[in-house]
């Protein structure tokens, strides 16, 4: 873990509420090894209302360009201010934080399920799996076509299935209603997104006896294990979702009874 100033290389508004921000260390140092599922804590500049840092997943690490990608959804003042940071400006970031998705050692059928901006870490994970020689499937859900982000990036890594609530892209409905879940059997499922979606995915995985990891977005104050605010009830007691997580195996969680 490090606190470091990053320079914003580019900041692209992807749709009405999401920005893709690419950053590189301001001191030109080389990015350290990072793993899919890990996140960063961003200091919010220029805000009279935001006090704490904001946790954002690592969307991708581009080693060649020495860039880290952050996919940010504007939901409140913190994310709005982050999204308003123009190229050339600095973001102060604590990174990398948290555990990561477990990377399988053997080939298998892997499904990566992302809901809305929750798909962010799935791109990094997909890339990692791809680098291992695997061909992951992606299942992306959103309210509407415009909420499905980075589609071509995902398509470069594997087969992509989509659901939208209004049917404007892919199948109509929620991700857990997608027909691929009926047709295919997966060896492992990874998911990140709104809690109700993750619970539904976890239940699907559980009832199909498929291994499953979810990435939580609990409220955090520090992000590195010091405050004990971000706990999740698990079979091993209250664990910090910032250090013991954000990735948990659903067997550890108390979501399914």
């Amino acid at each position: 873990m490090k606190v470091l100033d990053f320079t914003v290389r580019s900041n692209e508004q992807l749709n009405y509420q999401n920005n893709l921000i690419k950053v590189t260390p301001a001191d030109n140092g080389t990015l350290p090894e990072m793993s899919p599922g890990q996140f960063v804590q961003i200091l919010v500049n220029n805000s009279g209302n935001v006090f704490l840092r904001r946790p954002i997943s690592i969307n991708l690490v581009d080693k060649e360009k020495n860039e880290m990608w952050l996919l940010v959804q504007r939901v409140g003042e913190g994310t709005r201010k982050i999204c308003e940071t123009p190229a050339g400006e600095t973001l102060n970031i604590i990174f990398p934080l948290g555990n990561s998705f477990s990377i399988p050692q053997e080939e298998g059928k892997f499904l990566l399920v992302g809901g809305g901006v929750g798909a962010a870490p799935m791109l990094f994970l997909g890339k990692k799996l791809r680098e291992k020689g695997f061909s992951p499937d992606f299942l992306l859900g959103g309210r509407s076509q415009r909420d499905i982000l980075q589609l071509s990036d995902f398509e470069a890594l594997g087969t992509v299935y989509c659901t939208t609530e209004d049917g404007s892209l892919g199948e109509k409905g929620f991700v857990t209603h997608h027909s691929v879940l009926q047709k295919s059997r997966y060896d492992f499922i990874y998911t990140c997104g709104p809690k109700p979606m993750m619970v539904a995915v976890a239940k699907y995985a559980h009832s199909n006896k498929t291994g499953c990891e979810v990435s939580l977005e609990n409220l955090m104050a520090c992000g590195f294990g010091a405050c004990l605010c971000c706990i999740e009830k698990t079979t091993r007691g209250n664990l910090c979702s910032c250090t013991d997580g954000p990735v948990f195996n659903i067997n550890e969680l108390t979501w399914i009874d």
């Binding site: 200091l43 006090f51 010091a226 706990i231």
Partner: protein, 303 residues
């Protein structure tokens, strides 16, 4: 570095900058960010006799220039601390001080006794001011009588430096400070968090699972500073001041108001290296103002 030395009773700190209990884990959480050996001291996480799993999620809410927490003293108990954590941190070149909490006087006494056995822990901070546990906790810190009782009981069994951490949720904090001084406390630390609350207007629900929680951060600084000043004018024992410190100027203000040492809490979350910046900033201030020893500024507010 001698010019930064301060004394809390017989306990010497290499500098006045320490970190506040519950915001700094066991120190190791920050080892990536700073050189722990450069701290004046580390007040480790609130420790209780028995393990506690703390309160339910959500435990945190952001507030204007601060935050509420209702962690509720989640910790694995004093024995786990002594056996598994202490060995890992005891050799840092700083002072490890254990923050002791409890629900009954007996809890405090037993926990303190266990800590007394640990050679490299030269002091305890008696937390009679935690607003986040149902029994005991803050209740001990809100009356002179109960504050005196628990201090007296622990003093009997604990010979090393005894620091009592005061609650700000009181009418007369100076009176409580005097009460614990009278029972032999070597020092008082203040303030713990203010009891506060946050509500989500849209859902109509409290933001914390416990409804109320402890407020900390820069928002409380003016009140904390006033309390340090009041206590400084009421007791002879050294004061460890805290509440919203986020830079060296804040630390110096607390020292001018009467703090011998200071603790940094919540701001560690914003800048995990803040403690080092405060150490350096104090040195810079002393250089600029031609101050030989940092103890020259303690209580030197010009009123």
């Amino acid at each position: 570095m001698d010019r930064l030395k301060v004394n809390i009773g017989s306990l010497e700190l290499q500098n006045p900058v320490t970190t506040a209990s519950g915001t700094f884990g066991y120190g190791t959480e920050y080892a990536d960010f700073i050189d722990l050996n450069r701290l004046g001291g580390i007040f480790v996480k609130g420790t209780t006799l028995e393990p506690r799993q703390g309160n339910d999620y959500p435990r945190m809410a952001e507030t204007p220039s601060g935050m509420l927490n209702s962690v509720g003293l989640q910790n694995k108990g004093v024995n786990y601390f002594a056996e598994h954590i202490y060995p890992k941190i005891k050799d840092y070149n700083t002072r490890i001080i254990v923050n002791v909490s409890g629900s009954t006087v007996e809890d405090y006494v037993k926990c303190s006794e266990r800590i007394a056995d640990l050679d490299k822990v030269p002091a305890i901070e008696l937390n009679i001011s935690c607003p986040n546990i149902r029994e005991g906790g803050m209740a001990f810190g809100t009356s002179c009588q109960s504050a005196a009782n628990v201090t007296r009981a622990v003093r009997k069994v604990y010979r090393k430096t005894l620091i009592v951490k005061l609650s700000p949720n009181v009418t007369d904090i100076a009176g409580i400070a005097r009460a614990v001084e009278d029972e032999g406390a070597d020092s008082v630390s203040l303030v713990n968090t203010f009891l506060g609350m946050a509500v989500d207007a849209e859902t109509r629900k409290p933001k914390l699972s416990t409804v109320t929680g402890g407020l900390s951060g820069p928002c409380i600084k003016p009140i904390a500073l006033r309390m340090v000043w009041q206590v400084y004018n009421a007791v002879k024992i050294p004061i460890i001041g805290m509440g919203g410190i986020s830079n060296a100027a804040d630390a110096i203000e607390f020292m001018l108001a009467g703090s011998t040492a200071i603790q940094i809490g919540t701001y560690n979350f914003i800048d995990p290296a803040i403690s080092m910046k405060v150490v350096d900033g104090i040195t810079g201030y002393m250089d600029r103002h031609n101050i030989k020893s940092v103890s020259e500024i303690i209580g030197k507010l010009e009123v």
